[in-house]
Symmetry: C2
Subunit: 189 residues, 2 copies
Amino acid sequence: MYQQTLPIILASKSPRRQELLKSMNLDFEVVLKELDESYPVGLLPAEIAVHIAEKKAAAFLELSFAHIVITADTIVAYKNQILGKPSDAKHAKEILETLSGTNHQVYTGVSISYNGKTASFFDVTEVFFNELTAEQIDYYITNCNPFDKAGAYGIQDWIGLIGVEKIIGSYTNVMGLPTEKLYNALLSI
Amino acid sequence: MYQQTLPIILASKSPRRQELLKSMNLDFEVVLKELDESYPVGLLPAEIAVHIAEKKAAAFLELSFAHIVITADTIVAYKNQILGKPSDAKHAKEILETLSGTNHQVYTGVSISYNGKTASFFDVTEVFFNELTAEQIDYYITNCNPFDKAGAYGIQDWIGLIGVEKIIGSYTNVMGLPTEKLYNALLSI
């Protein structure tokens, strides 16, 4: 059982990640920095998620001598193509039309930094969407503003509830933080 | 897209079901009756879940002429053995020790009654638990009191977050209401 001995810093503004870490009964503080989330060409989806999580971790490394720092990055891949955060409603619609009636992968890379060292891992979940109608997609974009979400949807949102037929893997990974893998990684520090 | 024209009654005291139906943006009212949840011997897990959902539906049938009535029952099966709601902490511990380090099935039967008729369906999700330590099981039972939950756990609770490695199927089905199948069933009324 994980006994928290050091203060944890979650370097993420995602309310879903904050909520999940809270439900894991961990005490933490949110610390944010504006970071460049670019990545080199040629990386696979899992490598991109880990690359960005590690880039975030590097920016917080000095804090890791007195804290455990958790950073994460979630990306959505469809046929190895990365579907990022939508730039506007039109882009969100295009992404959701791509995901409709088929399956895609959600990758979350996580880095844990402690004592100047960083360890990283990722988790992947397969998500199967029903056919979504244009009306459902428009309703969702208008009412839920999914512009801060990779893949233009939150699985816990209306469209996830009515549109996701099944997943294979971790649900919390799709929300942005693979809690089970994170817990086991914390245990091994 | 489902356009609600009739008031919905959710005949369930489960806060998880109420929360999920609310997140589906449906207007509903909760109406409760004390019901006998027994079932005949010899039924398969899916049949038990549907049998109990239909038994609940029968008790609310008179309301179905002016409302859509939704009833549901969730059961947990391990090797075709039904793991019900725990009677006490010792029983909860036995159930969680059974689920630890292996996979089990969660079935939710749902009935929708309208105009004196009832249609039913079920969904099933495979849930894979890590090995849970005695300390984790005790901590969970003491702090989360899972006595109202089939299988002695809530997937959205601490033990689900740290202990569930993956699922195959619908996450909301494990919470007690398969929202995607329910939405499609409402569309076809």
